[in-house]
């Protein structure tokens, strides 16, 4: 431990004394998530309306050959007979991860995806400093991700485009995201809603993910 401390101190001193502009410039790119192996996918949790009585099925598995993750399933707007009567709408699913990230140095989220023509929703959750005492719900920021059908594309979403939401509805405020306190990310979709242009409605869905990165775009 002492050796590691000494080495890191020497490295910091060398950096400070060398005066390289590169050392002072924050990184322009940071790999956040890869989906190459099953181990990468363990940190992601799949959820859907099935937990509350819906009939949507979803899974998130590794496509070992290509080193990508496949989020696929079937959206259904129907409810089971003994469903949770508090759930008004069915037909949603998603994947989420809980991980503390510091995205302060970055201003864009980029992801390489192959979609099915549907419009997905990218979610970023940040620590909630303005909630009631004891409240543990994080703040939720969401942005649409349009994944073109059957072709790989790199989608770049500026962090400024993420809107604050609460239970799926946009919160009317000029809040600014605190990118230094990200507590998790997610991708989701719904059978109904979403902007025009994307496929909607119940049915099968498939989203293949290669990587998610944070970028600093000037």
């Amino acid at each position: 431990m002492l050796r590691a401390l000494l080495q890191s101190s020497l490295a910091a001193t060398r950096r400070a004394v060398a005066w390289n502009l590169k050392d002072l410039t924050p990184a322009t790119e940071c790999d956040l998530f890869k989906f190459a192996t099953a181990a990468d996918l363990i940190q992601w949790e799949v959820y859907s309306d099935a937990e509350n009585g819906g009939m949507t099925t979803a899974s998130f598995v590794s496509n070992g050959d290509l080193g990508t993750g496949v989020f696929a399933g079937n959206l259904s707007v129907e409810l089971m007979e003994h469903a949770n009567t508090r759930m008004r709408r069915s037909g949603f699913s998603g994947i989420r991860t809980v991980q503390d990230l510091n995205l302060e140095d970055f201003n864009t989220i980029a992801m390489r995806v192959k979609g099915d023509g549907r419009c997905y929703v990218s979610t970023i959750r940040t620590e909630n400093w303005m909630g009631a005492p004891g409240a543990t719900d994080p703040n939720t920021w969401q942005a649409f991700v349009f994944a073109p059908r059957d072709e790989w594309s790199v989608i770049k979403i500026p962090l400024a485009r993420y809107l604050p939401t609460w239970k799926g509805k946009i919160v009317e405020s000029d809040a600014e995201m605190n990118a230094a306190r990200v507590t998790g990310m997610g991708l989701s979709l719904t059978a109904e809603g979403g902007p025009e242009g994307g496929e909607q409605g119940p049915g099968p869905f498939r989203l293949e993910l290669d990587w998610i990165k944070a970028l600093r775009v000037t």
Partner: protein
Amino acid sequence: MFEHDFLAPFPEIFLINATIILLIYEVVLSTSKKYDYPPLVRNVSWLGLLSVVRLGGRVWENEEPYRYLITILLLAANAPLTVANLFYNNLIINNFTYFCQIFLLLNTASTIVMCLDYFKEESLNAFESIVLILLFTRSMLLMISAYDLIAMYLAIELQSLCFYVIPALKRDFEFSTEAGLKYFILGAFSSGILLFGCSMIYGFIGVTNFEELAKIFIGYKITLFGAQSSGIFMGILFIAVGFLFKITTVPFHMWALDVYEGSPTLVTTFFSIAPKISILANMVRVFIYSFYDPTWQQLFFFCSIASMILGALAAMAQNKVKRLLAYSSIGHVGYLFIGFSCGTIEGIQSLLIGVFIYVLMTINVFAIVLALRQNCFKYIADLGALAKTNPILTITLSITMFSYAGIPPLAGFCSKFYLFFVALGCGAYLLALIGVVTIFISCFYYIRFVKIMYFDTPKTWILYKPMDREKSLLLAITLFFITFFFLYPSPFFLITHQMALSLCL
């Protein structure tokens, strides 16, 4: 009491009344449908600036009217009293308080000048921030004049309550809210410790007035091992810790970095400048006038050394401007504590000189940071090639950085030289040695600014818009002082010597 006691603090009373009238004016007008809910922040800023500059100027009794602050101030309340104890010895006015208050008002005026353009650029219609700054200024004026533990604490709390709010000025940005919450919790904690110390002093001694405490502690050895004085020792220790929290010395500095970084830049400017003057003035009165004892010297020596070392070493690893300036501020407090911990008249004089020059340099640096922040100037690397895009600003920042680094013949060198001179004079050779070594280390990151501006080319060129006229005037005045202070420093030395004498005699 009513004959003189309400006449002498006329500036404070004027400021309170002006603040209340401003607050009523802005609340009524900003919610007025008839005037289409006007944004009043710039309007109120100018009115606030006017109310502050009205305050600076007193006439010496039985002498020709001698008006200080001839550069920007209007003539103001010509208070007939320049030396007085007010309100049953709760407040005092003497040369020390007079000049400290004048200096404080100058700094508040500078900060308000800096924020004139800030609100427009940020589209921040937060007129209440000006009111808070004015209230904060009033509380600092009272803190400087405080002559009693209760008056001191009340003034500190008045200041703190205003200060808890303004880091969270950007209500829609949680980083700012986080900074405000952190400062509130730690500030309240330190105020609690301070009050606990005051209560212990009162419990063991029975008086709270500084003059009476000074009389009691003459020849009274306060040590940890004296059974009768352990309560007094703990009380004074708690008061010292409370103050050290507020002045961001090591090891009570932890809150400063996140609060400085999270707050809006204007608030960071204010944090770096204004509290240092009032809290140091108060500390000087408490620890050198009332609780004078070599026991505290060891504590302040340690804090000084630790602050200088941490300020120098930690700032080297920073790549964000505000965080680097926060560490620089901590380091400079360490240097100022050299003069404070010596406990001599020359020590107080060097402290006052150091504070004055430090504040001017900080105003200069933050005015530049505010001018450059239009393109999100956050990292030191963003300064790359500034010499090609804005050479005048580059020269200004370079000179200020050289002054921070203590390069002769700039003002920063003069202040540090005198501080080390005083340390050597009172036998604190280790303090002076560590000070010199840490200044040498700090040169690395100050002069690094100059290297980046002149010799580095960033990947993306950032073209900055021209700054507003008010900031450019402020930069010109402070740069002039920093550059040419060495030519004629004697009036300033005389004033600070007089301030130190009035405190000690």
